[in-house]
Symmetry: C2
Subunit: 599 residues, 2 copies
């Protein structure tokens, strides 16, 4: 069984056919030069790297894990060499500013690459992946000197970066963080404190690690308004990046965890470590929020990655494994039994994975195009519109795609029967690795509050309207398209209902703000199903047009039509239950005293 | 954090208050002597053993796992000694026939014990647990000599037993099995073949292991009608059980798997091993089906066990962990933040676990009482009615409770945020250990076919009617009970709809038998939600009666009422979506060619 095969045809479909990539890039001054030759070369070469170099290391990473010895972390066999190749090929700089050594390609293309590396080996992909947070922070808020010293090395991939937010007593609630930053005479700061859950906080893959650390200045205001950002390198360096000596930051231990064993999740102890303020004092959290959307989209990708991998593995198994006869008669009469893909319930599990994997790809690329637009050199107004749409889509993509990604990974395992529980098939690793995606970068519950409270109700419904208008336009344009007629009807209904549900919850929330938290996760999942319904309806519309044009790839486009049908008939009806539960009120959650949950 | 605390108060509620245990036992000739003093002593002592002896070994089992060396399997530290204590206390014989050394107590009480041992340490509990299958087989189909030689030692716990069904190329489809049994001159058989996934197939906890092996006689008919059952002991023994020498059966390896690391999942190689026919030739599979219900109820228990454990862990964490302020204002103004149990979405996750754990307990004990009745010395007619009800409930309990048990275990993990992914808290082990429950003893898909195809449609709807009548009676009796008025209305509607859905699918299936497989899992889940709805409505009715009587345990009974409300308002509406998807037809699953699932 192959470790991973990049779904190149489906990536092409999503970019070019569904989302009109050529026109999209040509409309953006900064990306006009990016032709399909570059895009295709990147897809092909990225696929080779993912399939041949890091895919085969995925199981190695799981079984070996990372090793910690007195602050030194050794990554699994082959990880370091693969990273070397990655850097030499220039991959880290893909979607970064040419001014600091980047290739200036659009974020959407960076997302194509991270889909492939992440699917092949999520643990490995996190080492370069985590650097983007540090790079974006320095790019947006750093001084020219900071950019020259740190950013160029991060963009080239010579160094990697981390984000040091969480502390033992605070994760979601960063206002409580305690790490201290005391000013030194030379303008630098002394950073002291303990950070936990620092992915790729320490490793042996790069010469230096640049930590972006959240800490408090002396006399900083309490809570989230007293947090500042600091660059704290593992090794102190000269302005030109020459390494001087070791800084006072050390990895205290690495966590034993359910999955992503190949990635080191570190406890980082800062003990008078030398740090440099980045951005204005006490505005650190706000600065971080400016690129939170991109980071969260990167985690949404994890849902897609594990759905895709689970699907690939279980599809191959379902075609090979012979067990029982189809209820309507033998499908493989020469064999001792039928392949299990003959059985409707196995198909239900496969199609669920397929619908979420391909649907997730559409959603993530649709969102990534908004990032392209924001950075594409367009008018402020256009950039604002893209930012608004991205703000709305991000919590949905992050929480919904990781939830259904985990469901998909589990269905993938289930297709294997008892063999799914056995490590050698890889399906169980896929489930374990996937599980963290619903936790980090803000749990599902936090994303749901962000969507319903901050984004939708916080904008007086405007951000929701921004998206429902898009759906409405699609429905209008396809009103006379028989291929999607029933989908248009369903979507029109959901579009209307979505607004009504929002109004109802908003009204209830005026009396009791707890109603927001009580409805939020159901509301988010509802939103996710509708958004993906829109994507699948678009895909069906495109596929039908191709068939009408007389394509030679009949089977490919018909599969799109059939998967869209599956989605609308077997998945989308979940909204009906969610509508009921989200409107059931906060009382049924709040009326039980905390002391009376168990006796 | 305690490893496990037996929910004694809730067990008492389920047995005595919900299910009228005293009356139940008094109505059964074989169990009339079993008084509440015995029952209570067993609950208390069983709880002590689970909490103090095996609970602390649960994490040890996960981290150490089992070790294999040239056919010898070593169980994790402490497992062997705990088993010794278990045997010395007489626990294995609890629910077995006094004629072979059993204590003659009812199966329902055995299930109480296995809930506690299984929750405390599922991997450990499987060693004695698997013996029951072997015991039941010999008890029902063995000769007197076989009973004397093997059964007495199994009942005492000196030896353990296994069921050897699965082979590498067949699990669900046992008709394909290849293990051979050649007759010897002395009336024994030579057994040769490879069995996989044999839980507790080899270990160091008991002096001998009695394998019940499915194999084919020479010239046996093909398929399931050519399977016979054999006793194959690890050590050959004299008639009185004295050990002679090692038999030709050896553990070839143990599996590396997602969870239940403390239990050895063995490849067993039979190489001219000496075996003894049990029951009639070629009727082995049928013989096994006679106690399949009990075995599957034992796996249903695993869903409950992990729901309960996840709930206990996450409840404790949710009360302790301070993070963010409640949206309606501080609940813990003296502290730096509110305990996360203040937040409605955390409560939603806790109540989901609570509703499934307590609801699962009710369902399993309700089903176990049917086993009691079957073995209780009642008339053939009464026994048949109990058997029918059990046959109907078993696939629901097995598949539904393991599915929602896994959901609960995951919600438990989710309550911990990022800490849920870290091994030390135990929430992730709970998820990993739980995952197998949806696979072994027949996957969810197989249970669903058993329910809809074999049980419901196969009985012309009679088995369904047997249960809906019970619901109907409850609804009639409670028609004027204001405490459950809305639940009665909902249940009446669902009861009616259940029959209609069955009719519709049955009608479709006459044209296309694949419709059964296409609807089956949704149908099963729908059935599970309704059955649990009935249980929760009964619980509410009982709780209200206690409150009306003026109980001193007001908080306990009010918590029941509130959890019932949560179940009806937040969980049961899932049936609405299932209704739509189960009726969506087989076409949307079958119209995609197997070759066209991916390109």
């Amino acid at each position: 069984m192959a470790d991973y095969k990049a779904p190149q045809r489906d990536i092409q479909f999503t970019l070019y056919e569904l989302l009109d990539y050529e026109k999209h890039l040509q409309s953006l001054p900064n990306y006009q030069e990016v032709g399909s030759d570059i895009v295709n070369a990147i897809i092909e070469e990225g696929a080779k790297f993912a399939e041949n170099v890091i895919g085969p290391l995925n199981r190695v990473g799981d079984t070996e894990g990372c090793k910690w010895d007195d602050g030194v972390v050794t990554t699994p066999t082959g990880f370091k060499e693969a990273y070397q190749q990655f850097v030499e090929a220039g991959w880290p700089s893909l979607a970064h500013d040419p001014a600091v050594g980047g290739q200036g390609l659009p974020e959407s293309l960076g997302m194509v690459l991270s889909e492939m590396t992440g699917s092949a080996n999520w643990s490995w992909g996190m080492y370069p992946g985590l650097s983007h947070g540090a790079m974006n922070t320095i790019a947006e808020h750093g001084t020219d000197q900071q950019k020259e010293t740190y950013l160029t090395k991060l963009v080239s991939g010579e160094w990697t970066g981390t984000m040091c937010l969480t502390e033992p007593h605070c994760g979601t609630d960063l206002g409580m963080l305690r790490t201290k930053a005391e000013p030194n005479a030379d303008g630098s700061y002394s950073i002291s404190g303990t950070k936990i859950f620092i992915s790729a906080g320490e490793h042996d893959m790069a010469d230096n690690i640049v930590h972006i650390v959240l800490a408090r200045l002396p006399d900083a205001p309490q809570g989230t308004k007293g947090i500042s950002l600091f660059i704290v390198p593992k090794f102190n360096v000269e302005d030109d990046g020459t390494i001087i000596d070791r800084n006072g930051v050390k990895c205290g231990s690495i966590e034993h965890k359910m999955g992503i064993h190949g990635n080191a999740t570190c406890v980082m102890n800062f003990d008078d470590a030398k740090g440099y303020l980045i951005g204005p004092e006490n505005k650190g959290l706000m600065a971080m929020f400016t690129f939170m959307n991109t980071a969260r989209l990167g985690t949404a990708m994890q849902g897609l990655a594990h759905a895709e991998v689970g699907f690939q593995k279980s599809l191959e198994y379902a075609r090979d494994r012979l067990q029982m006869r189809a209820l309507s008669g033998a499908k493989n009469p020469e064999g001792p039994a039928d392949p299990i893909i003959s059985h409707p319930d196995v198909r239900r599990m496969l199609l669920t994975q397929k619908a979420f994997s391909e649907g997730g790809r559409m959603l993530i690329q649709f969102a990534a195009q908004q990032v392209d637009i924001m950075h594409g050199g367009v008018s402020e107004e256009e950039a604002k519109a893209a930012d608004d749409l991205l703000s709305f889509l991000t919590p949905i993509a992050k929480a919904f795609l990781t939830e259904v990604g985990f469901e998909s990974a589990n269905e993938g395992l289930q297709c294997f029967g008892g063999h799914g529980f056995i490590s050698e098939w890889g399906a169980e690793q896929n489930v374990r690795d996937c599980r963290i995606s619903m936790l980090y970068e803000g749990t599902t519950g936090i994303q749901a509050l962000d969507l319903l409270g901050r984004k939708v109700l916080g904008s007086g419904g405007e951000l929701l309207k921004g998206f429902t208008k898009i759906v409405h336009t699609f429905c209008k344009e396809n009103a006379d398209n028989p291929a999607v007629a029933t989908y248009v009807e369903t979507l029109n209904g959901l579009n209307k209902e979505w607004g009504e549900l929002t109004m109802k919850i908003g009204t209830e929330a005026m009396n009791n703000p707890e109603e927001v938290g009580a409805a939020s996760v159901d509301y988010l999942m509802y939103s996710g199903y509708v958004v993906l319904g829109y994507m699948w309806a678009r895909a069906a519309s495109v596929a039908q047009a191709k068939l009408d044009e007389g394509t030679t790839e009949t089977a490919f486009y018909e599969a799109k039509l059939k998967t869209a049908r599956f989605y609308f008939e077997r998945i989308l009806p979940r909204t009906v239950s969610l509508t009921q539960t989200m409107l059931s009120g906060a009382d049924n959650l709040l009326d039980l005293d905390a002391e009376h949950f168990a006796f």
